[in-house]
Symmetry: C2
Subunit: 350 residues, 2 copies
Amino acid sequence: MAEGLVISIDAMGGDHAPEAVLDGIEIIARRGLGARFLVHGPAARITALLEARPAARAACIVRDAEKVIAMDVKPSQAMRQGKGSSMWNALASVEEGEAAVCVSAGNTGALMAIAMIRLRKMDGVHRPALIASWPTARGFAAVLDVGANVEADAAQLVEFAIMGEAFQRAVRGDLRPKVGLLNVGSEDQKGHEEIRAAGRLIRESGVDLDFHGFIEGDDISRGTVDVVVTDGFTGNVALKTAEGTARLVAGFLREALSGGVLSRLGALLAYPALQKLKDRMDPRSVNGAVFVGLNGLVVKSHGGADGLGYAAAIDVAVRMAGSHFREEVAANLRRLAVAEPAPAAATGAS
Amino acid sequence: MAEGLVISIDAMGGDHAPEAVLDGIEIIARRGLGARFLVHGPAARITALLEARPAARAACIVRDAEKVIAMDVKPSQAMRQGKGSSMWNALASVEEGEAAVCVSAGNTGALMAIAMIRLRKMDGVHRPALIASWPTARGFAAVLDVGANVEADAAQLVEFAIMGEAFQRAVRGDLRPKVGLLNVGSEDQKGHEEIRAAGRLIRESGVDLDFHGFIEGDDISRGTVDVVVTDGFTGNVALKTAEGTARLVAGFLREALSGGVLSRLGALLAYPALQKLKDRMDPRSVNGAVFVGLNGLVVKSHGGADGLGYAAAIDVAVRMAGSHFREEVAANLRRLAVAEPAPAAATGAS
């Protein structure tokens, strides 16, 4: 299914690079999907590490890049000094059409900034966004933006809605995903003016989304909608707060089940079930956020990912590359443009 | 310990009023703390309901108020039309010195708006805030603002820090609570300008807080700090997202433990431990957010609270009333005023 697919890899991004990155490739390569990897990083070091990873070694083409973008560098610095780095070159492979998608666990701000230079924004998109897949009581919701921008005005929130809806259709196969705007109440008069204006815009534009209206924080996990639209500051705080809460509850559970002989025996009997629960809640299984709104596909892995986590991010890349995501976004944006002639003309000129 | 304490109750606030409210009073009254309750609501109905709640009946003085503020009314309407309602009169009892603290499960916006009219802001406070107690791996953190204001500038965030720190000292007996600003990264250049400016203000003002700097969403549950400062929009989304996540994980656990004979047997053996975990995660046990920054104490119960949840909110009221919270806030604000002569003069004149 992924036969012929080429994935560009920033081997030096992330806290455990390049070992964790190559471990991730090894896991995917062993599945025999037929995908190939363009691995950007210091060639001698990468080649040596591939010795112990035979499946990856057979699937990788190593491209030498000695320069590495540090995890704590500012986006502006990364843009000025990033040329020739593993991240820069990994994105360039997508720009030049050598690869269908790029995966990096590097500095988010730097990745975003360089991706904007190399891949540029899609026609009609003002701000690219970062989408996370969020486990819910009913499956997975797409939440965006989770950190590409700290602010978003009404028009940008509408674009996020369009991109998130197309993502959910393309990646999850959800035919008619329901879209909600994250707010502090479900009534029309609640929240920031930008959110209220975005709600009106979605309703009045001809974009034809299944728009649910406002949702609150607890609706995300409930699965009230399939696509949660918010600004990057709120989305990032919500995502990390949820991760922290899941970890806290898991800790409470461990503590409770190690509290006495009967509890321990009970935990032993329920071990397979608890293990399945643990796997279900493993943040590594939902690793891989997607930058959307660019002329090219970019998947961001968590910086702390190990091999298993990185493999999940590659999985997302494979799914994105095999989908019609960009065509879906473009079609949605065209509908918006037809409904609103004035802004369409303005964006068409840029 | 609560001997002589008088608590003013809005009997008609909340989805299950007045029954749940009176159930909550009954639970507290049975403990024999010696507190008395001024219960505002339709006298005939309340008196009839108290028949079946003997401890509450002995501790309550019913004050007739036929008017009720609806759960979906706008704050501006509540201010214009609220006079004589159970909520209005419950707050007036605090203003007039009859009661030390008011508890309401009514409409948050209306409660805030009427409290501002009746109790007015404390000297030196520009915006009152709503504080929630948040369970963490290390105890409880105070998170504010969780919804009194949708926006906050740098100076207001500093005030929130001061009020939250005083709250944590007064209510939790935490001698030197650590304060953090919620952001999307821990580096100085991250996030909104208001947050960065608030960080600089706290460091440069003479307010003498144990300031940790920026924290991220997952730091809240981790207990990285004791006081989490944020604007009311972000705080409300974070709080509800955490509630939703905890509920989702609990649902996954229930599902896992009912999946087979061994799992069920295991769950049976571990039942007391799992029950303790359930109690620990019961959102009712942390019910009761506190409005701070007013000349009077106001506790907001969740609108959907049952008797047990309402009793937790009364507990918070008892603890607040027995503390030196307002003196602590005033002392912190004075320190800030000394460090920054210009804004001090401006607020002094208002």
